[in-house]
Symmetry: C2
Subunit: 540 residues, 2 copies
């Protein structure tokens, strides 16, 4: 079954991909900069991982096979291992033999929304946990096959829900099944001259249902909005039956329940269809690079663009640390030469700003570009080449992480967002927390940060942390750092801007939405999923 | 207490206002067009209305007085009558002696969010219903003092929560107490060079808390968004304590619970503060009128503007029926002359299109205007005078309704929204339903419609119905028409785009959000308001 071929193995990189190795110059630089002693710690072969026998009761297996066909209830070792968890650093450590890897008792692969509903109903009747699974790209434990107090847990793989259901070009709407992978959605829309415009870093693997379940935000969010801004309707398979939401672009018919389904991370039901707003595919695109002196100055520019309504479709500011890493690891830029060039222009703390514009016509693009450039002010223009370099590598982060892990690095990201007046404080607080937690045993961490999603009232901060792995306690090393960062975030911003809650952020949810907020989510879950089978131990 | 002076009396028009009377030419035209026999049916004096004794238990009265002070627990006849219901046609009929007017047992006027919380808690303990009351402008029964199964019902008047709490000009945020009336909010923001930009027809009386509780949308929604797009945070007084939501512009920390509070119509808690996005007040404004041939052609233009991202801040298309009413009732346009002018330009079904632009500079405004005009195409330009005429009368609808009621008309509005591909069908279906229901006894109804809120994927439809009042059964006449219209809407669009659910739309909510949606709302209410005292018999 080729819908299985792209499943998680030991990392993001497809097995055998040639672009995976870290260049020697990068490894040397990391040693000098962080104290890394490069080692070779490849992904363990699947056969080396402990996988318990499937605990799925025989009766339930028969019931599920009656619904989806026996060929779509998978209990083989490698099928179950292929849907064990997502792609967080901790998940990937488990693939290298460090820490636990919860493996589901079976994988069920229904063929359409009705089969999903029947599977959900059957599992609810038999007290079997259900983990909805799209592209498996969660980095917060959202697809961990946790059993909770259930008799068994199955992964509900949405790979066969891969259809474009309908297109309404007049209203610019498209209905997709939830398991459609983002590049497939774009390919299907391109046949109609349309685009969704949702390009998160997980783009190559992630599904539309997953975007909705997690409140995803893509690199082009300034132009197209967050995923929740694109969702006009959702269809959920709940233990109590089908639930469809969304009949008009806007409504005052009570609270917006679509916004309850979006971000519900599979706890209230399995999203089986999403109706999304689409747009004509742009004929023109242009990316340019700029350099600003320091993060604060760059953030002021991005704020001016956001509040002036003239952000590029993509607008992304790296802080000096991220700029340094990008300059060095990419190896394409002649780092010293670039720095000399910038110093001559008075820039001592280079912060890279990448802006991308789109347009139906070249003229439209250039008009937008002019409006942006009026507010970019003193930034040094690096031109199209620097912009194109970013575009070329825009989805390569996860692959680079695999390569860094292979040589013994701890590398993980986390993200938050807050209002403009708190942004500098939030960045400092998180940086300090991570640096303090990870500076041990001669290791010198790098904490890099960028703004990639901007709003009139504030922006996101996305942190990448690089530090030599603590081989004695690799899981604990990162868990402590993540805890320190999360505690620094609480009170200053949101615990997650677009990675969702999953398992990793659950301890901090109450500090953000209040104990009453948690009680409300639990009450909704109890109403829709009274036996509590949907995605056990996630979110609340 | 001057916060009482602006309370509801018998209609929108402040007593003694000079602009209230319907001009003689309008009355003559209505007679010819609808079969009206003008009568004189003024608002009954308050003394003529039946008001039962207050049923508030003495103990509760003491408890409430301890919280807010005895002077702020009002049980006098006229105070209670002043907060009896809102401003729907049916509410106003009750003020003229037709139909029931539920009168609260008392009016409680707390001084700050903490007092609100204590009042809510006390009422929950004693099983006394609470109707949150801002400007009292609900047109769907949302502030009706319904007792439900409670021992008594009090109106919780937010008039004293009238403060601007804080302004963050960097993040463009302002925190307001919920009882601030919209013009006051604008006045307070103007001192900072800022604006909220929310101008619904209820602007002169409505409060920020009410906008949030009902998912309001203003005339400038194309420029500033709906009210829910402006809300960054809310604070609610629930029977289980204070609940604050909103820490960043966007988040993936589970479902967006702000969107649960917004539109909750007082069922989950009383909104005591709202944090809103604000913008620099525009220095330049310009309104122009256009005429298009027929509604369908006009809707195509508005769709092109919305999908092209070049809507004016205000963009409003009247159908030929509304254009006729506006031309005639306003009396300012020389109707026959205008029609001749338009006929000479090939326009047989004049549809008025009003577009307003804003800008920080004149140049910015003109740039926006040019972008719009490129897509306005064949429309006949009437220029600034027609636009300014609309602007001058933009809040006069409710006053005009009072005058029409005085001469014996039934006049009421309703609104919906749907996707572009269904918009024409929806308009036809609602028109037919209203015309069929109201064409009885020699009466010839006028059903007029406009688009005033447009989105990339669809638009709202706002209907105004004018028909001579059935003096034998005025309430039944409208109830039947409203039911016919609502049944026509179900399946084609939302039962309410910006008027909320209240009592009038409650029977149709399940058809829009599903029985599961209603169950979810009930579960949330049970969690936050276990004794069910908040706004009895509304929404669900």
């Amino acid at each position: 079954m080729d819908h299985l071929d792209h499943r998680v193995r030991g990392g993001w990189t497809p097995s055998g991909a040639a672009d995976a190795a870290l260049p020697a110059h990068a490894s040397r630089w990391l040693s000098a900069r962080t104290g890394l002693t490069p080692v070779d710690t490849p992904v363990a072969p699947d056969s080396g991982l402990p996988v318990p026998e499937s605990g799925l009761p025989a009766l339930v297996r028969t019931v599920l096979a009656d619904i989806v066909g026996a060929a779509h209830v998978l209990v083989e070792r490698e099928d179950r291992l292929g849907r064990a968890g997502g792609l967080s650093y901790v998940d990937l450590l488990a693939r290298r033999g460090a820490g636990e890897l919860p493996v589901p008792d079976a994988v069920v692969v229904p063929g359409d929304p009705d089969e999903v509903r029947e599977v959900v109903s059957a599992c609810a009747s038999h007290g079997v946990g259900i983990v909805p699974f799209g592209g498996g790209t969660s980095v917060v434990g959202g697809v961990s096959a946790l059993r909770g107090d259930k008799v068994a847990v199955v992964v509900l793989d949405l790979a066969r829900l891969d259809k474009l259901v309908s297109v309404d070009p007049v209203s610019r709407l498209a209905v997709f099944q939830a398991g459609v992978v983002a590049p497939e959605a774009e390919r299907m829309l391109a046949a109609h001259g349309l685009t969704l415009g949702h390009f998160p870093q997980s783009y190559e693997r992630a599904t539309l249902g997953g975007f909705a379940a997690t409140r995803s935000s893509g690199q082009a969010s300034a132009g197209y909005g967050r995923f929740e801004d694109m969702v006009e309707g959702v269809r959920l398979a709940t233990p109590r039956g089908d639930w469809r939401l969304g009949v008009s672009p806007a409504s005052a018919a009570g609270p917006d329940l679509r916004q309850l389904a979006i971000g519900s991370e599979g706890l209230f039901g399995v999203i089986t269809e999403v109706t999304v707003r689409v747009r004509p595919a742009p004929a023109w695109e242009r990316y340019e690079g700029f350099v600003v002196d320091g993060f604060a100055a760059g953030a002021e520019i991005v704020r001016a663009l956001a509040q002036g309504g003239v952000l590029g479709t993509v607008t992304r500011l790296s802080d000096p640390q991220e700029t340094e890493v990008a300059l060095t690891l990419s190896g394409g830029w002649k780092s010293a030469a670039v720095r000399g060039y910038l110093r001559a222009r008075g820039i001592t703390e280079p912060s890279l700003l990448v802006i991308g514009w789109e347009g139906a016509t070249k003229d439209e693009l250039l008009t937008r570009r002019r409006a942006t450039l009026r507010l970019v002010g003193e930034a040094v223009r690096l031109g199209v080449r620097a912009g194109e370099r970013w575009r070329h590598g825009r989805f390569s982060g996860p692959r680079q992480r695999d390569a860094l892990m292979d040589v013994g690095m701890c590398v993980e990201t986390l993200e938050t967002a807050t209002y403009w007046s708190k942004l500098g404080d939030l960045r400092e607080a998180v940086r300090e927390a991570l640096l303090r937690s990870l500076t041990t045993g001669g290791r010198r961490p790098i904490v890099a940060c960028h703004i990639s999603h901007s709003y009139e009232t504030g922006a996101s901060l996305y942190f990448t942390t690089l530090v030599p792995r603590d081989t004695d306690d690799p899981v604990g090393q990162w868990r402590r750092a993540k805890q320190a960062a999360s505690e620094a975030i609480v009170g200053l911003g949101t615990i997650t801007h677009h990675h969702a809650v999953g398992v990793d952020h659950a301890p901090y949810l109450a500090s953000e939405i209040g104990p009453l907020g948690v009680d409300v989510l639990r009450a909704i879950k109890a109403e829709l999923d009274p036996s509590g089978v949907l995605n056990p131990e996630k979110l609340v």
